[in-house]
Each structure stands twice: as structure tokens, then as C-alpha cells.
Amino acid sequence: MNTAIFILTAIVLISSPLCASAEEKKPEEEKAVTTGNVSMTGQYTDISGNRAKFNEYRDIREGVGVYVGGEAGYETEKYYLHGEAGNIGYRDQQYRFEGGQWGRFGLDLYYDQIPHNFTEDAKTFYSKPGSNRLTYPTQPPSTNINTWNSFDYDVMRKRFGGGIKMDMLKPFFFNVSANRENRTGTYPFGAAGTTPGGIAIELPAPIDYTTDAITFQAGYSKNPLLMSLSYSYSTFDNDNNNLYFRNPSNAATAALTDTLTLPPDNTYHNLDFRGAVKLPMRTKFNVDLGVSQAKSDASLLTSYVTTGGSTPISLSSSTFNGKVETQSYAFSLTSTPVSFMDGKIFYKYYERNNKSDQITTTDGADIFTNPLFDYKKNKAGAELGFRLPSNFYLSGAYTYTHVNREREDIPRNDDYLYNLGLRWSGLSFMVARLGYERLNRRADFEGQDLGGAEPWIRRFDAATQTRDTFKAILDVFPLENLNFSLGYKYKHSDYEDTILGFQDMAGHEFNFDVDYLLAKKVRFYGNFDYERAEEKQFQRTLNLTTPVYDPNITTSTNYNWTADQTNNSYGFTLGTDIYVVPKKWTLKLQYSYLKSNGNTDYAYLLNPATLAGLAPGGRTQDNIDIENWDDYSLRYYLAKITYEPTAALSCSIGYAYEKFIYDDAQYDGYQYVPATTGTNGAYLTGAYKDPSYEAHIVFLNVSYKY
């Protein structure tokens, strides 16, 4: 497949300039135009450290590599063809082809590969990692990782598809598109050896997915009316609905095979009608009506494996038919009745109905039924904008949202969202924007009637909160050759009723961007981004056998604790393009730096003596904190000199350096088998272990455009 695509693309790219030469001899009245470019880069890359993170979504080969890409276009007064290709023959290769007749029809075809590399050289004692049967010969598995099998965690998406757009029957239009995505690879899943309280087992699970989708759209668009009806159908097929693995915890029943369920096959239908009609007074009524249905079918397991052997369970039905339906209705009226005012009112209803089977499981004395989650959302609002004197634009909006969900703790939310915006464009070289948003979320909390700690828990996705957001943006372009932008955002969420959970979140963001061309000789560019995120969490430790739920009571095994997390991130780029000899010699220099520093300040709300005595002893309020919480830095240098002997030909030679350093408490001192039993126990594979890397790249590029 890759070879065929490579050859085909190479022929197209190489033959296009020849066609161009031929076209030049054609009579002028045909007005055929051939354009395009071919780019070839020879590159030497030296990578040390984690190659998977360096190549997370790309394919830069270690050592020598030749990377070819380009595009070719052919146009006449009636027809057009355009093709482009990138990284031909590599794992991240992509191709796109478009053609058609102007104003009548168009078609496109594409093929795109998206690699996602997680970890290279992971290790496992299981044979055939990435298959749906993971086993090993003797119990217990070897803890000597030198005897384990090596493999890579990566997932490759290969997408291909195309579409046709028909405009020849205007005002009627018709579009159809279809695509397939094959996803293959190995992904880190996990399972508890026994539950609860056992070891953790990291499992190299197979990814062998096929997703197909087809969409039809037909409509009519001629003022004052638009009508469009689209239908989409998609299927998801997983070649492995279960992962069978030998469980190291099952010493007594070594031959028993444990099972981890994987995502089920599903089908999805979506029907959507959209319409708009223009009304008097520059008013437009818009409507969107949509329904969808997702279905899955699966045979459920009728037993599970424990250390004691296989435990049978009784199911009211061993076949699960999953069905989720959604309905969406949106109506909107937009209007500019007078030149100084814009208005919009809208209403949207979204409903998710879970019509899946409810199946009762009888597991010994335990009897329970899978809950079905549904929700309904009603949203309505209005927006007004006024063009004021002196080029001010003032806008205000109000949105009310009511959510009703099948959930015991917070079944209902009411959101009151207020927006205020002010824009000023009174100077021809500047636009300034200010914005403020206030969210008052009210939650109907019904957890007080539930057991355990529920009366005190407020889950942040639905908890009562007051959120303030302030934004300021300044775009300045005082000279033709100078522009810069400044942005600041402050966001603060106060979960005022929360006792256990996230109580407070705040964030500051600052962004700056500049571009300056000095005397057409030197271009300077740069940007700076800063972000600070703060989060306050209040939780309670509850003893498993004698829990005391009330946060106002403290015992040696039931006590409160807090975690205050801070993340400071900043990044900048400084660069210059020096036109040493304009349109002949250009020198490019760039330096980018990105850094994030996270930490979590834990506090056990216990007296120092009790805290110090907690097993293992020696805990203090300081030595429990975590200083490296997703800390990382990325440095990038680039030096490149470009020579353009002609307007069509360009040659570049350069050097790039990239260094990524990652440091995180959860991966520091990584051990594949920290222990073989108990809650320190785990059989890990090295997934996401130390992604730090360093790379030197020397490259030579030749580009030809025609």
C-alpha cells in the first residue's frame, strides 16, 4: 500500500512540472494553469532518550532520512485538479486529492496516517503483548525484567475517504462523504489482580478497531430560505471484545483465564435537519432538529475469576442490548433591526435517553442492576449588541440552562450565565476588547438522604458554584510592518457549598505575540504565554471497617486532608528572519522554551503527633508534599539558511535541537515490579515511563515550485 502510494505520488509530483512546460505551449485562450511544488529534505537525526515521546504524532527516523512532499494543481476555466502529499512513505504520510468542475461539482479523496506513539521498548512477562490472549508459562511470573518481552505502545490510525459535492442543480445541493479508519496497535490497559486490595496488572491490550462513516446531505439554499437534511451512519467494529489474560494473583488456580472486557461494537445513526429563513427587518430564523441513536450488542460474562477459582454469577439476561437515543432541537432568531443594534434569542433542547437493557446480576448474596443514565438539558438565552458612538460596541448576554439528570446526588442544575463585552476600535491601528462572564450554578442536592459520605460530597461537575471570568485583549497594528497582541484572562470558580471535593479553582493566563519587519531586511517575531492554575481540594479519609463520615469529627483513622495544587506554566518563542540578500539569502534563527512546574501541598488535618505516628511513621506536613507534579520543559533551537537561486528554486540547510525533560512523582524511581503481593504490588510494563528525550537534527532541503 505504502509503496503504491509512494510511486503514484512521485509520478504525479515529478510529471507535473513537465506538464507545466507542455501547458505553456498551449493556446492562451485555454488558460490552463499548472502550479505546484516539490520539496525534498535529507535529514540526519540523532535521538537519545525516549524516541516515542519525540515522535509522539510524527515519524522522524533516527539516522538518515529523506522526506518528500509537495503539491500539484491543474486548472482550466472549467475544471480543476489539486493533489498534495506529505512525508511520503513514512508513518505520518498524508495524501489529498481534489478535483471537479467549477460551480458544478467537486470531489475529494484523502489518505492520512496518524501515529500515536506512547512508549517504546516497554516490557512484559506476557507472551504476545498486544494480542487478545496474554499468558505466561509458569506461576508466578518471572520478576527478572531482563527475561521479559519487549514491545512498543503505539496506535496507528489510517484514515481514508472521500466525498462528492454537487452544486450543478443550484439552488439545490447534494453532498455525500464516506470514510474508514483502521486503528491498530497496543495500548496500556490495566486490571486489579484481586479486588479490592490486590496488585495492579498493566496489560498490553490490542487495538484493532475499524470505524466506518457515511454522510448524505441534501438541501435547498436560495434566499430567503435554506433547508438541509443530512443523515450519517457510522459503525465501530472492535476485533477484540475481550482481553484474556493469566492473572498472577490466581496462584491456586493458575490455569484459569481472567477476562477484561474491551469496547463493544456499535452502530450510530444521526438525522439532522437545518433550516433558516430570512424575515423582514434583517432578521433570520434558524432551526436545527436532530435525532441520533447508538446501539451495541454484547454477550455478558457469566462468571469471573478470583483467587479461589471461577465464581459464577446469575444474570437476568446474558445478552446486553445497548441503545442510547438523543434528540436535539435548537431555534434561534438573529436580527439587526437597526444599524446600531444586533440581537439574538435562542432556545436549545437536548435529551439523552438510555434505552439499554437493565440486567439484574445475582452474585452470591449481592443483587444489583445496572443503572441507566439519562439527562435532559433546556437552554434559553438572549444576546444584545450595540454600536455606540466613538466606535464602541457593547454587548450583553444572558443564558439560562436547566439540566435534569438521572443521578442520585445532584439530579438538577440551574445555570444563570451573564456576559458583558466591550469592544473599542476607535483608532485605526488598534482594537481593544474587554469581557466579563458570571456563572451562578445552583444545584438541587439530594445527597443528604444517601448513605456514607454522600451528604458531604459535592461533585464538581454539577456542584453549586459561582464562576467569574474576566478577559482583556488588545490587538495593535500601528505600522504596516508591526503588529502585536496582548491577552489576559482570569477565571475563578468558587464551589461554595462543597465540603468534600474541589472547593476552589482559579487560573490566570497571559499571552503576548509580536511580529515586526524592520526595513524589509529583518523580521522579528516572538510570543510569550504564561498560565497559573490553582486548585483547592478538601477530602476525608474514611476507615473501611469503622468509618466516621462527619467531617467535624476527627479520629486517628477518620480525618480530613487537603490538597492545594499549583501549576505554573510559561513558554516563549523568539525568532528572526534576516533577509541577508532579499529574495536570495535568508537566515532564520529561532529559540523556543516551554516550562511547567506543578506541585501539590498536602495537609493532614491531624495534630503533629498523630500525623507522625501514622504508618509508616515520620510523616510531617512538609515531607508529604509533592514538588514534581507533571513538571516538564521543552527547549527548541533552529538555525536555517536559505538560498533561492531563482524564484522557483530554494535550498535550505539547517540545524535543530530539541530537548524535553519530564519529571513527575508518580514515575520517579520507576519499578516494573515494586512488590508481588498486597497494595504495593504491581506488574507494570513501563507505560509512559520517563518520556524525556534529546534530539539533534541536521537537514538539507531543496524545494522547487512551478
Binding site: A294, N370, G501, Y670
Partner: protein, 307 residues
Amino acid sequence: MRKFLVSFFFFSFLVFLVNFLMSGDTRGSDGTVGVATCKACHSKHYESYAGSIHAKKAIPTSPASKDGCESCHGPGAAHLEKMGAGGAGIFIFSKKLADAEQKSARCLSCHSETPLINFWDMGRHRAAGISCDNCHTVHSGTPKNLKARQPDLCLICHLSIRAQQNKQSHHPIREGKVKCTDCHDSHGGFGTKMIAANSANELCYKCHAEKRGPFFWVHPPVEENCLTCHVPHGSNHSKLLIDKPPKLCQACHDAAGHPSAPYTSFETFKGPATGSKNRMFARGCLNCHSNIHGSMGPSTRGQTFVR
């Protein structure tokens, strides 16, 4: 004297002829002057226009099929009379000379029937004072007449998104594998944040169809909104999470036993804790609860997403 008169009449004739050829016979009764007249002074602009889709006569609604340059810039007669001074007498797509509404109105006079643009009035871009020419250039032959490719084009204004997509955990936006328009209707639509779907989850499932289920055991916040736990553009935390497990999970799951325990530096690989470390090190809760998006597993194993 005779030579002078001959020269005078000859020169006058030339001036008349040039004027006649340039404007005389092309001036329409509606004030249009014709493409050739525009080209005489604005050859560079004309050449770029000629290479664009707007110059295709095969498209019945294109400027080339109407009044050429004057389809967008308006009749040029007044402009010509004022000798073209500073864009006088004609419509110029300039930040200084026209506001966003006026500029977009010019484009919409032809494109309002384009299905993709039909909901422009509803979008945030219009409300923010963005006009078509912020992203498109009328004269270029680039795909869709865009001024730059995605994501660079969008990131000119969306600076905070630029910062997010540079973070260590990100969708492959900067690598060119995910385009902004894969998820957003840049020309306006019905979705919050102009997303191209009726809900965030329906959008995410287009690429992550394995998360669609429907699952036997569901995790309600997952079913309601992927963005409860994930951010779309980039995060300091792996998997585009808003926070790290176990802290993220514990914000909701404070039940007796291991969900409620604080996992600190004592429970890391290097930490001295004698138990509970496999809830903290490596992937934290996900070491065991890997089916967090939904499970088809049996009994409590499925209910707690460990099978």
C-alpha cells in the same frame, strides 16, 4: 506655428484616445468601469485576482461572471473621477476604511446562499467583530482563499489556544493531523463554542468511536460530558486531563477505604509507605480502573471499571 498646431492636435488626440480606451467605452450606465480599467492601475491586484476562484467565469455567481472587481469593490466611476486617491469613491477591504459588518456584508451579498455560511449570524466570530477578510483573502489562489493554513490562521487570534496546544499532552493540532475545523464550525452554528455537533460527546465520538458504548456499566459524568475530565486542546497532565489521578478521581469518589486515602509522596515508587502505593504510582487509579469510560464486565468488576 504649424508644427506647434500639428503637435498640439496630435497630442490632444492621443490624450483623448487614451482616455477613450481606458474608460470611455467601458463605463456602464450603473457607474461601473470594467475590469480592464481597474487592471490598468492595479495590475498586481488584478493578477492575484485572476489566479483566484473569484476569476472563474464557469461559476455563475463568481465576480468574473458579474462585474469583475466591481462586484466586490463597487462601481468604479466615482473612484476614477477622483483619480483613485486613497481609495476614494470605492469600497476597500481595509481596517481603516470599513468596519467588519460592512466588509462581511460585501461577501455575503454573494455567499449568503452558501450552505456552510448560512448560520454566520449565529456565530461568535461575527459577534466579536470578525469579518470574512480576517481569514480569507479575496485575491489569492490559496485553498479556500485562506490567508494561512490551519492552525496558524486560527492561532493568530486565539492566543490562549496556541499556549494550550503547545502543552506536553495535546491533540495533534500543531502536527497538522487535527484541524480546528474538524471540531468547530468557524462560520457559525448551533453548538456551544461553535462545535460541529449537537453535544461535546457526539463530537468526540466521531474520532473516539470506541467511547460511544453504549456500555453495560456507565460512568455518568463521562456520559454527560467528556469535558468534565478532559480539556480539548492541551494539558500539562497526560490524556488531556484537567488534573491527575488519583486527585482527579477523588474529587468525586470519597468513599470509605482506598478511594478516600490521601496519596502523597509517601505512596510514590520512592516513598516509604508499606501499602496503597499502587493507587498512586504510575497511572494511579487507572492502573486498575482502566475501563473508566464504561465497562461490559461482570458483577462489581464491571461496576467499578476494573474489568
